[in-house]
Symmetry: C2
C-alpha cells in the first residue's frame, strides 16, 4: 500500500471559497457573519471535485490512500478572531470528512485547527477532539505562525503549545507543522513562507528540550523539512555548539520529514542524509506546483517516481511508502488493521 501523508483539499467546489469571501467581507463590514448552514455542497459536487483531480492522479501515479486535510493556504488563521477561525475550521474539516466517507479506501482526514493569533491554543481542543472522535481523523495540522508571516506566537517548545501536545498524545495523533498564507509581502506563501516555517520549526525543536517532556510527541515537518536535510551538517554542528545530544537521539524519535521535494537530486539527498525511518511518502498533490517538469516530462509533484529511482532497497521503499506512516499515524494503522489491511 502506498500512503501519501500530505494532501490538501485544494480543489473544493467554488461555493466554499465564496462562503469564505462572505465571511471575510462581513468581518470587514461589521455585518453578521454567514452561517455555516448557508453553505451547500452536494455529495455529487464533492465526488466530482475529487474524482477528476486528486483521485485521478492517485490512480495514474499509483498511490492508494491520502491523509487529507483542508487547504493549507486557505486556513488563513490571521483573519478575524477565534470565532471566525472556529466556524471556518469546522466547515473545512467537515468537507474533508465527507470526502473520506465518499472514498473510504482513498482518503482519511487530518484536522485544521481553529487557531488565531494571540488566542490560547487550548481553544482548539474541542475541534481537535471532535475531528478525532466523530470524523475518525488521524492527524492534525498545527500552524506555528497563525499571524501569517509575522511570527508573533512563541516557539514550539514554549508551554503556550502544551495543551495541544497533551491532547495529541492522549489521542495518539501526530501534527504536521504547516503554516498558511503569508500576509507579509516579504514572504511568498509557497516559495518562502512554507519552507522557512519548516526550517524554523526544526530549529526551535533543536534549541529546546521539548521531547524530554513529551517523549511520544510526533511532528511531521513537510516539504522535505525545508532547508534542514540540505544543511544537515550545519544542524549537527549547531546541536554540538548548543551541547545537545546527537540529532538521532535528540530529535529523530519525534520528528519526521515528508517527501514533498520536487526533483530527483533533492529526494536523493533526503534519503541519503535522513534515516529512512524518519521519511514519509507525500506529494502535496494537488498543491503549489502543478506543472510538468520539462526536463523529465513528468509532473514536478509526482514524487513517487523520485522515491522509486532513489538508491533504496525494497524494504526501505516499503517503509517510506507505508510502514513509517503506520508507525507515526497510530490511529491510521489501527484503522487499516480494523479493515484487515
Amino acid at each position: 500500500m502506498i500512503i501519501d501523508v500530505h494532501g490538501h483539499y485544494t480543489t473544493a467546489p467554488a461555493a466554499l471559497g465564496a462562503w469564505r469571501d462572505r465571511q471575510v467581507a462581513a468581518l470587514k463590514d461589521g455585518t453578521p457573519a454567514p452561517l455555516a448552514s448557508q453553505l451547500h455542497i452536494s455529495d455529487d459536487e464533492l465526488r466530482e471535485s475529487i474524482e477528476t483531480n486528486q483521485l485521478k492522479k492517485m490512480q495514474e501515479r499509483g498511490s492508494d490512500l491520502t491523509v487529507f486535510s483542508p487547504r493549507a493556504s486557505f486556513m488563513a488563521h490571521h483573519i478575524g478572531g477565534f470565532q471566525v477561525s472556529a466556524t471556518w475550521a469546522a466547515i473545512c474539516n467537515e468537507l474533508c470528512f465527507r470526502v473520506s466517507e465518499l472514498f473510504p479506501d482513498h482518503f482519511i482526514g487530518a484536522a485544521m485547527l481553529p487557531q488565531s493569533p494571540g488566542v490560547d491554543p487550548a481553544s482548539c481542543i474541542p475541534e481537535l477532539e471532535r475531528c478525532v472522535r466523530d470524523y475518525g481523523f488521524v492527524g492534525i495540522n498545527l500552524n506555528p505562525d497563525p499571524s501569517g508571516g509575522h511570527w508573533t506566537s512563541p516557539p514550539l517548545c514554549d508551554r503556550h503549545w502544551w495543551p495541544i501536545y497533551e491532547k495529541m498524545i492522549e489521542h495518539d495523533v501526530p501534527a504536521m507543522i504547516h503554516v498558511s498564507t503569508s500576509c507579509n509581502a516579504c514572504f511568498h506563501t509557497t516559495g518562502a513562507h512554507y519552507l522557512n516555517a519548516d526550517t524554523t520549526a526544526f530549529m526551535q525543536c533543536l534549541s529546546g528540550d521539548l521531547f524530554k517532556d513529551f517523549p511520544t510527541l510526533k511532528f511531521l515537518i513537510p516539504h522535505g523539512g525545508g532547508a534542514v536535510p540540505y544543511h544537515w551538517g550545519r544542524f549537527r554542528g549547531l546541536a554540538q555548539e548548543l551541547k545537545k545530544p546527537l540529532l538521532d537521539e535528540h530529535l529523530l524519535n519525534n520528528i519526521f520529514f515528508d517527501t514533498c521535494v520536487y526533483h530527483q537530486p533533492g529526494i536523493d539527498l533526503l534519503t541519503e542524509v535522513i534515516p529512512v525511518k524518519n521519511v514519509l511518502f507525500a506529494s502535496e498533490m494537488i498543491g503549489a506546483v502543478r506543472g510538468i517538469d520539462p526536463t523529465t516530462g513528468h509532473h514536478y509533484d509526482d514524487t513517487k517516481r523520485y522515491i522509486e529511482a532513489a538508491d533504496l532497497t525494497a524494504e526501505e521503499r516499503h517503509q517510506i511508502f507505508e510502514g513509517n506512516a503506520r508507525r507515526v499515524f497510530g490511529r491510521l494503522d489501527a484503522h487499516l488493521k480494523r479493515k484487515g489491511l
Copy 2:
C-alpha cells in the same frame, strides 16, 4: 588561487564588543553615545586576532584570500536609528580595512551598511562609497531585513532598494544578501533566520523582474542559497506557474550561491543542481559552526574538502575556487590584476 568570498571578522578584539555595549547602554539610558575615537585597538591586537584564528585556518586548509566583512550577527541594524548604525558600521568597516592593510595578500574588504528599519536605504550610500573609494572594498553585505526577524522592509524587488542597486552598478560591487541577529524569539539566528533569509531573498527575486531593470546587478546568496538548491524543482515549477522565464535566464545571470554548506551530500547537491558558473567558494569561517564533525574528523566549515571530493572537473573546481569570484567581484579581479595575479 583559492578565494573564500564569505568571511566575517567574528574574532575582533573584545574592546569592539565592549564599545558596542556602551553604545547600546547609552541608547537605553538616554545618555550621550560613546565616540568612535574612544575605541582603541592596536595593530598588534588586530594581527593577533587574525593570525591565531582566520589566517591560521586558511593556511591549514589551503585557501589564499578571504573577502572579509564585519561580523554579520553584530550588525544588529534593529538597534537604534541611522546615527547608531552609521557610527557602528564605520567602526566595523574600518577594522576590516585595517585587517586588509595588515594582511594584503589574504584579506580584502566587503562593507557592512548602516541600515536601519524604516530609514531610506539611500542613507547608506556615503558609507558604501567611502568603503569602495578609501578602503578598496570589493563588495557589500545588504540586509533584506534590518528589523532583525520582523521583516518590515519591502521585498528586494521594490524601488525602496533601488538607490543601493544604482550605486552597486556604478561601482561594480555585488551584494551578499545577509541578515543579522534575529530579535524574534521564533528564529534562531544562524539556524533559522539566516537560512530563511536566503530562501526568501531568492523567492523575492523569482517573483519579480528586478534583473530586467538592472541586468548587471549581482546578488550572492550565502549559506548555499538556504533551501533553494534542495528545492530547485519547486522553484523551477513556481517560476513556471508565475509565467517567468526559465531560471537560467530569469535569475542565474545575476544570482550566485556560496558553498557554506557543511556536509558532503549538501555540496554534492549544490554542485549537481546549480550551474558551476553560479557557485562561489566560501566557508564563513570562523562562524556559526566551529566544531569538528565526528563523522569525518574534520571541521564542519572546512568546505574546501567537500568541493575537492565533489564530482567536478579540474576546470570546474577552478571556477568555484577562483574564476567565478573574479567574475562576480569585478573590483577584486581588477585588484588582483594590478598585483600581477
